[in-house]
C-alpha cells in the first residue's frame, strides 16, 4: 500500500443482528429448553481501504453482507465491532459538527427507485431539505441550488414541483443522486443502484456516475451483484461471501484470473454476451443461511477443493500479490 492516507478505512468492522430471548424463552431454557439467541453476522471482521478518487466494487450474492457493509460505511448502521476511519479519524469518536460533516461527506445511492424517495415530498424538498437544514446553502439560494443539482443529474428543473410517483425509474434514480450530491459529498456508496433499472436506462445512469466522478472527483464504493458492471466501473474489486471478504484485487488482475475458488465460480458463472455457450459445471449447492453459516471457511461445503482444514479453520485474508489479497487455505499449500 502506498503511504498516502486512505480516504476511508475500515478496520475489523463487524455488524451483528441479534434477536434476544424474551422472558418466556429464558424460562423454557431453565426447564431444559434449547432456545438460543439468533445472531446474524451480516458483516464479519472486514477491513478495507478506499483511496481518494478510487472506485471500489463490492461484489457478492444475496446474504453476503455487502449492503450491510455499505450502510455501515454510510453511517446508517453503527458497526458492532471495529472502526470506520474517515480521513484518518475514527467516525465513532467524532461529535457534533465534525461528526455531521463526516456523515454528510459519505452519501448513499439506493437500489429501489420506488422506495428511496419519500412519496409525500416534492422533488424540490427532497433535494433541498438537507442543505437547508444543515445550512449548507443560504435559504434564499435553495431554489437555485436545487435547479443546479437537477441539471447536474440531467433533469429539467421545471419538474421540481413534482412528486416522485410522476417520474420513471431512471429519473427517480437521478433524483436520488441529486439528493446525495446536494450535501456536497466526497464519497458515494452505490448499493445496487442500477439493479432495478432497464438495460438501456442502466447505461444512462452508469454514464452519469462516470461523469460525476470526473467532474466532481468522487470516490465510490460500488456495490453490485452484476460483475459486468463492476468490471466496467471499478478500479478494485472486493468479493464477499457470507459476511466475509474472500478476495480483493485490482479489477484487471481479478478478471484475469481470480484466486479464491468462490471468486472463480462467480466469474465463470456469470452469463456474458461475449462468452456464449460455454460448457461448464456450475458450482453445486445453495447459499447457506447467514443464521447458521458453515464452520471454517464458509465456502467449504460448495468448494470443489475443500479439505478437512477448510472445515475447521477460518482462512485469513493474505496478500498473494501486491494489492491482491485472498482468503483461501489453498494459497498456503501453494507456498
Amino acid at each position: 500500500m502506498s503511504g498516502e492516507q486512505p480516504l476511508l478505512r475500515l478496520e475489523g468492522v463487524s455488524k451483528r443482528f441479534t434477536k434476544h430471548l424474551d422472558a418466556a424463552e429464558k424460562l423454557v431454557n431453565l426447564v431444559g429448553g434449547r432456545r438460543r439467541e439468533e445472531v446474524v453476522h451480516a458483516v464479519d471482521d472486514v477491513s478495507l481501504d478506499v483511496r481518494e478518487g478510487e472506485v471500489v466494487g463490492l461484489v457478492g450474492e444475496s446474504g453476503c453482507g455487502k449492503s450491510t457493509l455499505g450502510r455501515v460505511v454510510a453511517g446508517v448502521h453503527q458497526p458492532s465491532d471495529g472502526k470506520v476511519i474517515w480521513r484518518g479519524k475514527d467516525v465513532s469518536g467524532l461529535t457534533g459538527a465534525a461528526r455531521r460533516d463526516a456523515l454528510l461527506k459519505i452519501q448513499m445511492i439506493f437500489q429501489d427507485p420506488m422506495s428511496s424517495l419519500n412519496p409525500r415530498m416534492r422533488v424540490a424538498d427532497i433535494i433541498g431539505e438537507a442543505p437547508r437544514v444543515h445550512g449548507l446553502v443560504p435559504a434564499a439560494d435553495i431554489p437555485a441550488y436545487v435547479d443546479e443539482m437537477l441539471q447536474r443529474v440531467g433533469l429539467d428543473p421545471a419538474y421540481k414541483t413534482r412528486y416522485p410517483h410522476q417520474f420513471s425509474g431512471g429519473q427517480r434514480q437521478r433524483i436520488g443522486i441529486a439528493r446525495a450530491l446536494a450535501v456536497k459529498p466526497d464519497f458515494l456508496v452505490c448499493d445496487e443502484s442500477i439493479a432495478a433499472l432497464d438495460v438501456s436506462i442502466q447505461a444512462q445512469v452508469l454514464n452519469l456516475f462516470m461523469d460525476l466522478r470526473t467532474d466532481l472527483g468522487l470516490t465510490y464504493l460500488f456495490i453490485s451483484h452484476d460483475l459486468g458492471v463492476v468490471e466496467h466501473l471499478s478500479d478494485r474489486v472486493v468479493i464477499m461471501y457470507l459476511g466475509r471478504v474472500v478476495e480483493s484485487a485490482p479489477t484487471e488482475a481479478l478478471f484475469g484470473g481470480p484466486n479464491h475458488p468462490y471468486a472463480r465460480a462467480l466469474l465463470d458463472e456469470v452469463p456474458r454476451i461475449d462468452r456464449r455457450k460455454r460448457a461448464f459445471q456450475p458450482v453445486k449447492g445453495e447459499i447457506p443461511s447467514p443464521l447458521s453459516p458453515p464452520s471454517g471457511c464458509h465456502f467449504h461445503p460448495r468448494c470443489p477443493h475443500a479439505t478437512a482444514r477448510c472445515r475447521e479453520e477460518v482462512p485469513r485474508l493474505r496478500e498473494i500479490a501486491p494489492g491482491w489479497t485472498s482468503a483461501c487455505h489453498l494459497n498456503d499449500e501453494r507456498g
Partner: protein, 317 residues
C-alpha cells in the same frame, strides 16, 4: 387509477446526453389531487360524503338551526310530551318530527343528539389518534424492549373487546360526555397505535428513511416529516371506521344505561328512550333518531370503505 407510464421526460440540459421523447408538461399531480380523483370515482362514496357533510353541518350549527333548545327547561314542556310528527304546541310551534317523552321537539333533539354523538365520536377519535399515534410511532422508532413492552400492552388491550372495556370503565367513571370520551379513548387508542406502528415499521425500513439518516437529518425530523406523513393514509382509514364504531359504541353504551346522562341525549340515548315507546305506537320517538344514527354511521362507513380502496397501497399504483 392513474395512467401507467405517463412520466415526464427528462430534458437534455447542456452536455448531458439525454435526448428525450418529451411529452408536454402535465399538470402537477399532487398526492391530494390524485387521491381526490380516485376517491370521486364512486358515486356512492360521493353521495355518502355529501350526506356526511350535511350531517356535520347540522351538528355544528345545531343551536342556530334547531327550532327549539331542547336543553332549555323553560322552553320544553311536558305538556307537549309524545306529540306525533306535525303537531303544534300550545304556543304554536310545529314539531315536524313530533316530541319525545319529556316534550322535547324531536327534530331539535336529533340535531343536538347528532352534535353530541358526532362530537363524542370525533373527539374520542382525535384524542385516541393522538395517543395511539404517539405510542405507535414511539414503539416503531424506538424498537427493542421499549417496542416490545408497548406492543405487549397494545396486544393485551386489543384482546379485550372495546365494548367490554368501555362498559367497565363507565361503570367505574359514571356518566357524562367527558367520561364516555375517556372510555372510548381508552378502548380505542390501541387500534391506532397498532396501525401507526405497523405502517411506521414498513416505512422505517424504506430506503428514503435511510437516506434521511444518511443526510444527517435529526430523529424528530425523520419521524415527523418523513415517516409520519406516510403513515397517515392507514390512519385515516382506521380513523373513519373507528369513529363510526365509536358513535355506534356510544349509542350501545347509552342504551345499556352506562353512557350519557339523560339530559345530554345523544342519538343512542334518544333511541334508547324511544325503545320504551316501541310497542306503544309512538314510533317516531325511536325511529327518527335511529334513522339519523344509521345515516351517520352508514355514510361514515361508506366513506371509510372508499378511503380504504383508494388508499390501499396494494391496490394503488
Amino acid at each position: 387509477m392513474t395512467t401507467p407510464n405517463t412520466q415526464p421526460g427528462a430534458t437534455p440540459p447542456g452536455g448531458s446526453a439525454l435526448a428525450a421523447a418529451m411529452p408536454a408538461v402535465p399538470p402537477v399531480e399532487s398526492p391530494l389531487r390524485r387521491f381526490l380523483s380516485d376517491f370521486s370515482a364512486s358515486w356512492l362514496a360521493l353521495l355518502a360524503t355529501l350526506m356526511l357533510a350535511v350531517i356535520i353541518l347540522i351538528a355544528l350549527f345545531a343551536p342556530w338551526i334547531s327550532p327549539q333548545d331542547p336543553y332549555d327547561l323553560a322552553v320544553v314542556s311536558i305538556f307537549d310530551a309524545r306529540l306525533p310528527p306535525g303537531s303544534t304546541s300550545m304556543d304554536g310551534t310545529t314539531f315536524w318530527l313530533g316530541t319525545d317523552g319529556a316534550g322535547r321537539d324531536l327534530l331539535s333533539a336529533i340535531f343536538y343528539g347528532l352534535r353530541i354523538s358526532l362530537s363524542v365520536g370525533v373527539m374520542s377519535g382525535i384524542i385516541a389518534i393522538i395517543v395511539g399515534m404517539s405510542v405507535g410511532l414511539a414503539a416503531a422508532y424506538a424498537g427493542g424492549r421499549t417496542e416490545t413492552l408497548i406492543m405487549r400492552v397494545v396486544d393485551l388491550q386489543l384482546s379485550l373487546p372495546a365494548v367490554l372495556i368501555a362498559l367497565i370503565l363507565l361503570a367505574i367513571l359514571g356518566k357524562g360526555v367527558d367520561k364516555i370520551i375517556i372510555a372510548l379513548v381508552i378502548a380505542q387508542w390501541a387500534y391506532y397505535a397498532r396501525t401507526v406502528r405497523a405502517s411506521a415499521l414498513v416505512e422505517r425500513r424504506r430506503e428514503y428513511v435511510e437516506a434521511a439518516a444518511c443526510l444527517g437529518l435529526g430523529h424528530a425530523r425523520i419521524v415527523f416529516r418523513h415517516i409520519l406523513p406516510n403513515c397517515v393514509a392507514p390512519l385515516i382509514v382506521v380513523g373513519t371506521v373507528q369513529t363510526a364504531h365509536a358513535i355506534a359504541l356510544e349509542a350501545t353504551l347509552s342504551f345499556l344505561g352506562v353512557g350519557l346522562p339523560l339530559t345530554e341525549p345523544s342519538l343512542g340515548l334518544l333511541i334508547s328512550n324511544g325503545f320504551e315507546y316501541m310497542l306503544s305506537g309512538k314510533y317516531w320517538i325511536a325511529v327518527f333518531p335511529g334513522v339519523a344514527l344509521l345515516l351517520t354511521i352508514v355514510s361514515i362507513n361508506i366513506v371509510g370503505d372508499q378511503l380504504r380502496d383508494v388508499l390501499n397501497p396494494r391496490l394503488q399504483k
